[in-house]
């Protein structure tokens, strides 16, 4: 019989997802009455917010029977979601295959392989949308594969509505503005739905990556892809953030607050500071989606920013 354990001990790693720290950003907040807080999603087991949605998508699929015991999971991901699924697949006995653009950082592939995931490369020049298209083609051609499809799976925003949102309100009960990066739209949609219900008047603000010229150039207008899980009606504001400002944000997080975070966090912080500057008081919560570990090889922190900006134009980090 196992020895008794304390009440805060998790049954397994899945049980340890969420309940991430919230810290005040005392040094980054602009002078004045407005307070800023950061939700540190890098504290999740595989280092990103995606653990929450991966767990929700897989648990729901197993409960509904959509995912059978031992069935292979296939998902397009630029890294974080794939790594979360690979960890969960390992624990629950599902092989995992990730469609990954071929120009992400090496750390992502290393982690995926350590967890035993199989990697299928999509052309980096086609960005995330290229990975989505390839994964859909693979899934269509092989019914033995189960694709959670984070961009269209309601379990994604629901995970945030049921976990991230309540945590934020418990940690910062007087939250006035919530800022997060826009990827699948799941975080903004789910947290936004919860906070708007529980605290009317709260503003939900998106930080959107500025797409580079090459990606823009590959597309026709009609290709425009808006993820089905994004409920744009919960958004109150949306800002474009370029790579340079995202890098500056990442550096300020580390230098001023000691927070080692990923590139989208720098973008979210840039927007949060901009919003806070326009306020005369109140509380801004910014969600920092991941830690900096998967970006070490890109060296966002010390390289010449012009050089880095040029290089980021050709890689996929968000």
């Amino acid at each position: 019989m196992p020895a008794p354990v304390g009440p805060s001990t998790a049954n397994d790693l899945l049980d340890a997802i969420g309940h991430t720290p919230m810290v005040e950003l005392r040094r980054l907040a602009p002078p004045g009455e407005t307070r800023m807080f950061a939700k540190l999603e890098g504290a999740n087991p595989t280092g990103s917010v995606k653990d929450r949605i991966a767990r929700a998508m897989i648990e729901e699929a197993r409960a509904s029977g959509a995912l059978a015991p031992g069935q292979t999971i296939l998902e397009p991901s630029s890294g974080n979601t794939g790594i979360s699924l690979a960890m969960i697949g390992r624990l629950l006995g599902h092989p995992v295959r990730i469609v990954l653009p071929d120009n992400t950082t090496a750390e992502r592939e290393q982690l995926l392989r350590l967890y035993g995931a199989e990697i299928v490369h999509s052309p980096g020049a086609e960005g995330s949308n290229g990975a989505i298209r390839l994964a859909q083609r693979l899934a269509d051609g092989d019914p033995s594969l189960f694709m959670p499809y984070q961009y269209g799976n309601e379990a994604n925003p629901r995970a945030h509505e049921q976990t991230t949102g309540p945590e934020i309100l418990a940690q910062v009960p007087d939250v006035d503005v919530f800022v997060a990066g826009l990827g699948t739209g799941g975080t903004l949609t789910g947290v936004g739905r919860y906070l708007k219900r529980e605290r009317p008047g709260v503003r939900i603000v998106a930080a959107e990556p500025m797409p580079g010229e090459q990606v823009q150039g590959l597309r026709s207008l009609e290709d425009g892809f808006v993820p089905p899980v994004l409920d744009a009606s919960v958004l109150d504001d949306k800002y474009l953030v370029n790579n340079r400002d995202a890098v500056i944000g990442v550096r300020r997080l580390l230098a001023e607050e000691g927070i080692f975070a990923g590139l989208s966090c720098g973008a979210a912080v840039a927007v949060a500071v901009r919003v806070a500057r326009e306020m005369t008081g109140g509380s801004v919560v910014v969600l920092l989606a991941d830690g900096g570990w998967k970006y070490l090889s890109a060296d966002l922190w010390t390289r010449d920013i012009d050089e880095l900006e040029d290089e980021l134009e050709g890689s996929l980090l968000w």
Binding site: T184, G212, V226, E313, W318
Partner: protein, 93 residues
């Protein structure tokens, strides 16, 4: 004059220009001036007089849909960005 940045997908309609200087105190007026200078753009960017759902418009990086839409004011130092709508993880060029 404010500046309109043209995405690659629309540059065939501006003779290859990446940006166009325009006048106008609102997004509507600025776009009318843009269409007057580059008439072929109108049909690419609007449908029945409305801005196409495939296009996002930003003034100083802020999406006008969440401000006053096409009535959003534009100052002479402001930059208007037209971008194909594509929320998602594309982050490269």
């Amino acid at each position: 004059m404010s500046t309109v940045r043209i995405p690659p997908v629309l540059r065939e309609n501006t003779g290859g220009s990446r940006s166009v200087e325009v006048t106008g105190g609102t997004v509507t007026e600025a776009l009318e001036d843009l269409f007057a200078r580059h008439p072929a753009l109108r049909d690419r960017v609007t449908t029945d007089g409305q801005l196409s759902g495939f296009i996002n418009v930003y003034v100083n990086d802020r999406d006008v849909r969440y401000r006053d839409g096409l009535a959003t004011s534009v100052g002479p130092e402001d930059t208007i960005i037209l971008l194909p709508a594509m929320a998602g993880g594309a982050r490269q060029a």
